[in-house]
């Protein structure tokens, strides 16, 4: 058993962290929050140039053919950087969907361009009822898609979207849609994290291509993998919020002492740490299950997700609190983490969804599906 990272892993992490700290500073995050389109294209390009976007893409399609462990490291560092980029939609979902479920020609067409940063492919899974396959109501008839998908992250910056929709037999599948088609209308939504452009997309007889490997089980597995990577992103985010708060607690004085010397502050920071490390342990198991193709992936993903959601919400809310008056000003940093935390929560579904995923696995259908 070996439940930690190797020296090579640490080197990957250090290289990426240096690159990100050059580009994706918190000042940039503040700027993105004020911008019309929050997307930080400079960081995205830098990631492409460094070969990071193709990390898990096969060599045949211009990638580095690395595995889930390496991708998890990237996720954590991107979460930590707060970079306003579509890591989850593209690297967590679109790339594995195309690579594992797409056709040869889809792979050839899309993966090299994604890796080079020349094209963004996002995913449109969710509808009002949630993001699980059984909540899909968009429909494809004779290769044409109609329906309403919302929320979709980075739709305004993407060329294509991979869309969950019902086939003619009523089975949820994934389809590739060209977002520049005139039958597609994209309207912006007001997300709590405006560094994460979020839209509703309406498809009206839009020509689409099936990802032939996709079916409800494959979609669920895809979501499981994305949840594991998102957990690392969330852990990176939460840990930085913790350290930011720790630094503030060491600097800020009250009653003649650093506030971090008060147990009310110190013990809350310890609780944040404990929740983050618990989430990290679950995420490690998830990464291993994802990398090794272990059958326990869906359980592992669920517990990783649940622990990460808890760690992020507690840490970011209490980070605002422990910053005192400064904490609830717009100009301060803590709310950036709070907002991103909510967005990462919404994108792959809330705790109730993942609790059901866990229990339905464990209780083995003790409860009839609704």
């Amino acid at each position: 058993m070996n439940f930690g990272f190797s020296d090579e892993h640490d080197a990957i992490r250090d290289t990426l962290a240096r690159m990100l700290s050059d580009h994706a500073t918190l000042a940039v995050a503040h700027d993105c929050l004020e911008a019309a389109d929050g997307f930080d294209s400079a960081t995205w390009t830098a990631l492409a140039d460094g070969g990071w976007l193709g990390l898990a893409i096969a060599e045949d399609y211009g990638g580095a053919a690395m595995g889930a462990i390496e991708l998890a490291i990237v996720a954590e560092e991107i979460g930590r950087s707060l970079a306003a980029i579509p890591f989850g939609p593209v690297l967590g979902l679109a790339i594995p969907a195309i690579q594992d479920l797409g056709t040869q020609s889809q792979r050839e067409n899309l993966l090299p361009r994604i890796a080079e940063g020349r094209m963004i492919v996002t995913v449109a899974l969710a509808e009002d009822g949630g993001s699980a396959p059984e909540r899909v109501s968009a429909k494809v008839l004779q290769d044409r898609l109609s329906g309403r998908k919302s929320p979709v992250s980075f739709a305004s910056d993407a060329s294509f979207a991979i869309v969950a929709a019902l086939d003619e037999g009523g089975t949820a599948r994934l389809y590739l849609a060209d977002l520049s088609d005139p039958s597609v209308s994209i309207s912006a939504l007001d997300a709590i994290d405006r560094t994460r452009p979020t839209s509703e997309i309406v498809f009206h007889d839009t020509p689409v291509e099936l990802l032939p490997g996709s079916d409800p089980a494959a979609i669920r597995t895809l979501l499981d993998g994305a949840a594991v990577l998102a957990a690392f992103e969330q852990i990176g985010l939460a840990e930085r919020a913790l350290f930011l708060t720790r630094d503030y607690a060491c600097e800020r004085q009250a009653f003649g002492r650093q506030i971090g010397s008060f147990q009310a502050v110190k013990h809350r920071l310890a609780d944040m740490f404990a929740k983050i490390e618990l989430a990290r342990s679950n995420a490690f198991f998830g990464a291993w299950a994802l990398a090794s193709g272990d059958e326990r992936l869906s359980e592992a993903a669920a517990v990783a997700r649940l622990a990460a959601l808890d760690a992020v919400q507690f840490t970011t809310e209490e980070s605002v609190q422990l910053h005192g008056g400064i904490g609830f000003t717009w100009a301060a940093d803590p709310h950036l983490f709070l907002r991103r935390g909510w967005q990462l929560k919404a994108e792959l579904g809330l705790a109730d969804l993942w609790r059901e995923r866990l229990l339905c696995n464990l209780a083995d259908g003790q409860r009839a599906a609704n």
Binding site: S150, T329, H335, D352, L353
Partner: protein, 408 residues
């Protein structure tokens, strides 16, 4: 123990209602109660002044002030009854809360005759609007850590420094300002209180944008403001004592103030009926039901606690033990309810333009609640106060008690 109006209370209520009916317009159902104390623009300030003048004219301003100062000598419960009744009408925000609730009582106790004559009537009629210049960037929870300096030059004081979290500073005419006049003594002993004119060009006001996006507080920069010694409220170096009077009245004012106006937990039932969770109406989900029921129990508890506080006040007792918990519990409750309201939108959590305006509404609740957990004494400070003043636990070890401020 009686939850209903006593005959005297009922008579007061009827009288208030009569006057309000004759003078103001009822809110219609969809219009929200006026639940804040900040004007959004100059027009609202003007309307607030106009309304206050009419109230003062008819004897409904400064209800709890003594008759000698133009008040009505009303009981705290009468104040609450007034607030309830006035809340049914479309009235402008009460920007006079600090002047009437905090500054007035402080001037009555610590002011000179001249100060009482100059300031009290104009506070009552709404001619003057007051703000509270206490907190500073480096003195929040530890208010006695203020650094704004007031230096004596002949018969004037020269004041410089920076204040922060000042509600309404940009439209206030006057401010009550705490400054350090002697840094050579321990921190609590070297402060003095002043009453200053906000229109002085030495005072600059800048709004602070909060995480909710709105700006209800200001930074106030004071650069060599010169005031005569007659602007001093209370003795030199007695500022802390004067400030405690203001803070006690702030607590009282919050206790009997108009109800928080935040969202009601019951509204979550309605939202949960309209959205789905796991393919069913969310209101059918037992966890949703459990969360909502617990929110309701907590919110009712806070509401009933405020009645206990009023009962104490009416009996002439200090707003005691029970009052301190409201401040501690309200912010966290609002934060949790806001988060839960967003959660109910599922994958649209935090994303508005879905499910009507609900997400935006609960999101705003969520993003303003952190202010409740900090302003007026953080949750952490409240716990220390409860622990020490109510439960009698030994105090924190203080390293700054007997040290000259300049040595800290």
């Amino acid at each position: 123990m009686d939850f209903s109006d006593s005959p005297e209370e009922a008579a007061f209520r009827a009288k208030a209602r009569d006057w309000l009916d004759a003078t103001a317009t009822r809110r219609n159902g969809s219009e929200k109660a006026q639940d804040h104390f900040m004007a959004r623009d100059a027009d609202e300030v003007a309307r607030a002044r106009d309304w206050q003048a009419r109230k003062a004219d008819a004897g409904w301003a400064g209800l709890t002030w003594p008759r000698a100062f133009g008040g009505r000598d009303a009981t705290p419960i009468e104040q609450v009854i007034w607030n309830q009744e006035e809340g049914r009408y479309a009235v402008p925000p009460n920007v006079f809360l600090i002047g009437i609730g905090l500054v007035g009582p402080t001037v009555m106790i610590h002011g000179t005759e001249d100060q009482k004559t100059r300031f009290l009537p104009r506070a009552l009629t709404g001619e003057d609007i007051w703000c509270q210049l206490f907190s500073e960037p480096a003195a929040g929870s530890d208010l006695a850590g203020i650094r704004t300096r007031a230096r004596r030059e002949d018969d004037e004081w020269v004041i410089s420094g920076q204040k922060v979290w000042t509600s309404g500073a940009h439209y206030s005419t006057h401010g009550i300002l705490l400054a350090r006049t002697d840094p050579q003594v321990p921190k609590h002993k070297g402060m003095t209180m002043f009453l200053v004119d906000m229109s002085d060009p030495a005072i600059e006001t800048r709004p602070i944008r909060q995480i909710s996006g709105s700006s209800s507080f200001n930074e106030v920069f004071i650069d060599n403001l010169r005031v005569p010694d007659s602007a001093r409220l209370g003795g030199v170096s007695e500022g802390w004592k004067v400030a405690l009077t203001t803070l006690m009245n702030e607590r009282f004012s919050i206790s009997v103030g108009r109800a928080s106006g935040g969202a009601r937990a019951e509204e979550l039932i309605d939202l949960a009926t309209r959205v789905e969770r796991n393919g069913r109406p969310a209101i059918e989900d037992d966890e949703v039901r459990a969360r909502i029921a617990d929110f309701i129990a907590r919110q009712r508890g806070l509401e009933f606690t405020s009645y206990r506080v009023m009962t104490s006040l009416s009996r002439g007792q200090a707003p005691g033990e029970e009052g301190s918990i409201g401040k501690l519990l309200l912010g966290k409750l609002r934060q949790e309810m806001g988060a839960f309201g967003m959660d109910l939108a599922g994958t649209s959590a935090g994303i508005s333009a879905k499910v009507g305006d609900d997400v935006a509404r609960w999101r705003n609740e969520y993003l303003t609640a952190p202010g409740n957990r900090i302003a007026g004494g953080s949750d952490e400070i409240q716990r220390t106060i409860i622990g020490e003043r109510i439960l009698g636990l030994p105090p924190e070890i203080r390293v700054d008690k007997d040290v000259a401020f300049s040595e800290l």
